[in-house]
């Protein structure tokens, strides 16, 4: 062995030593990060394709807004009478209700015989005044008695539907349109009342559109030849719940 190669040997020993130290430092660091943010990092790594999944230091450049559809300031009642253009006349709620004694206990829409003939309430066991404001029919009311504009109706829904509201705020309920990347464009979101009528909130049934191609259907009558064990997670629970 000549001098030269001996030297390189030595330096490669050194390299190994550096590598060991480096690895130790790294793992200590990684461990402490894990302890701090542990569960989340771990969870994601289990679920996701591993490639390239590391937290970036996101400088979330948000150049555009998320806007939420808002209903009209306050609803009106469409009357049978028409104006001279033949358009139906409308009346604001206070037109009548500022002079009427409010009925604070009504919770059954079938008892409405004087007016609001078509209105159906089918929303838990709520009474009209769970949401409407006896002091001002052009406004809503929160559980704590606070007056609320119709435009902020989501606050009303949120107070009784916490989980859905949380999901909504995190984008997994209620849908959206526009840009996932707010540095490139804006996003529009639905209001709860775009999808749920406050009086009959159950989501409406749809007739399915766009029947699949018959050839396709026959080709794989369908399809996923999985055994039940291949599906992990909540389906199994759903099974038990049903």
């Amino acid at each position: 062995m000549n001098k030269y190669s001996a030297q390189t040997d030595q330096s490669s020993h050194k390299n190994v030593l550096y590598k060991v130290i480096y690895t130790v430092i790294c793992s200590v660091f990684a461990l402490s990060v894990l302890v701090m943010f542990g569960t989340t990092t771990e969870q994601i790594n289990n679920k996701l394709p591993t490639k390239g999944l590391k937290d970036q230091n996101f400088l979330n450049k948000v150049n555009y807004q998320v806007s939420i559809n808002k209903p009209k300031k306050s609803p009106v009642v469409v009357l049978e009478e028409t104006d001279f253009h033949g358009r139906p006349l409308t009346a604001s709620c206070t037109t009548c209700h500022s002079t009427r004694q409010p009925n604070n206990t009504l919770n059954d829409s079938s008892k409405l015989d004087e007016f609001h003939p078509d209105l159906i309430l089918n929303h838990g066991q709520l009474s009209c005044m769970s949401c409407h404001n006896a002091g001002d029919y052009d406004k809503l009311k929160l559980a704590n008695g606070q007056t609320l504009d119709y435009t902020n109706v989501m606050q009303l829904c949120a107070q009784c539907h916490g989980p859905q509201h949380r999901d909504y705020q995190n984008g997994s309920h209620g849908g959206m349109q526009g840009y996932w990347d707010l540095s490139k464009g804006p996003r529009v979101r639905n209001n709860c009342t775009d999808c749920h009528n406050p009086h009959t909130p159950a989501f409406q049934k749809f007739r399915p559109v766009f029947p699949p191609d018959r050839d396709l259907t026959q080709e794989h009558s369908f399809l996923i030849d999985v055994k039940s064990k291949s599906i992990k997670g909540n389906i199994v629970e759903i099974q038990e719940n049903e």
Binding site: Q56, I231, G233
Partner: protein, 312 residues
């Protein structure tokens, strides 16, 4: 895994030309199955220009080559369909890894997503093709084999739930592994793409996909001029030639510009969540961290980027 074992066919080296390759495939398959596999090519080859046939693999095209190809394709759309289209070559965005999640407690099976895909991606009108299939399944049953696709009654039906299935953009994609010509691959942002001008239409990928997410163009897509979506991507929704395989590409011509996929925007129920998992504040990340998500056929080790979940 060695290169050899990854491919079910003898590995095709880059040096091999496309013509020798076709021969090679024939040799390993035996004459009759080769004839079947290759039939579509024989069919459309006569309508194919020499330029088209000799076009290089997308990944090897220089940017000026690609410009030429795109100009030619735009001109093609004008000649064959009478439509003015713009084809762009959308590149993956830096620091972006896409993922998709679908809330099965919310989906009602209305198939608006499949319809939106059909329109967005310039599918053949006559066959009502779409990259999305919606399965109607019995609640409390896991028998996906009996999932029904051609249901036609108001939805959601009691005792049913609905599961839209599209390309799962697997990290370990069987379709990519079996492609004998490397006409399909996974991009940096996780989207598995197809080079429609390189695909030889052998349909191995279609057979390999455990999710039945790939579609084969049996004929030249027919779309009325005014219905053609003119905003097109080279690797996504440009009108595909006959005889090639295609699949969902997460609407990369939209999503690589920051927009949401067409199927998500069309969903009237809000069941779909899409975004960049590397962004800790993203909606998709919230779902992955806070909902109990699962993937289809996990045991196959395909590592999908498409997740399903139920609200608890």
């Amino acid at each position: 895994m060695s290169e050899e074992s990854k491919h079910s066919l003898p590995v095709i080296n880059n040096g091999m030309s496309r013509r020798t390759l076709l021969k090679g495939v024939g040799a390993t398959l035996g004459a009759s199955s080769f004839a079947i596999a290759i039939a579509p090519i024989a069919q459309w080859a006569k309508d194919t220009s020499v330029d088209e046939f000799l076009q290089q693999h997308y990944k090897e095209l220089s940017s000026s080559d690609l410009d030429q190809v795109i100009t030619r394709l735009e001109q093609d759309a004008k000649d064959k369909y009478g439509a003015d289209v713009t084809i762009r070559d959308h590149q993956p965005l830096p620091d972006v890894q896409f993922a998709y999640a679908l809330n099965l407690s919310i989906c009602i099976g209305c198939r608006r997503c499949a319809e939106a895909c059909h329109q967005e991606n310039n599918h053949d009108r006559a066959t009502s093709n779409s990259y999305i299939r919606v399965l109607e399944m019995d609640k409390g049953s896991l028998n996906l084999e009996h999932g029904k696709v051609n249901y036609d009654h108001p939805v959601p039906a009691d005792d049913k739930f609905y599961m839209p299935v599209q390309c799962q953009q697997c990290e370990n994609a069987p379709c990519v592994n079996v492609c004998p010509v490397e006409a399909t691959w996974q991009e940096e942002d996780g989207i598995v793409v197809v080079d429609y001008n390189w695909c030889i239409g052998c349909r191995y990928c279609e057979a390999a996909c455990p999710y039945h997410a790939r579609r084969f163009n049996w004929k030249k897509p027919e779309i009325p001029k005014q219905e053609i979506n003119p905003k097109q991507g080279y690797l996504s929704n440009r009108i595909r030639p006959q005889g090639v395989v295609e699949k969902c590409h997460f609407c990369l011509h939209r999503t690589r510009q920051g927009q949401l996929p067409a199927c998500l925007e069309a969903c009237p129920t809000g069941a779909r969540v899409f975004g960049n998992v590397l962004d800790p504040d993203s909606e998709i990340r919230w779902v992955l961290e806070n909902k109990r998500v699962f993937v289809l056929k996990e045991e196959l080790g395909t590592k999908p980027r498409f997740f399903y979940f139920f609200d608890e």
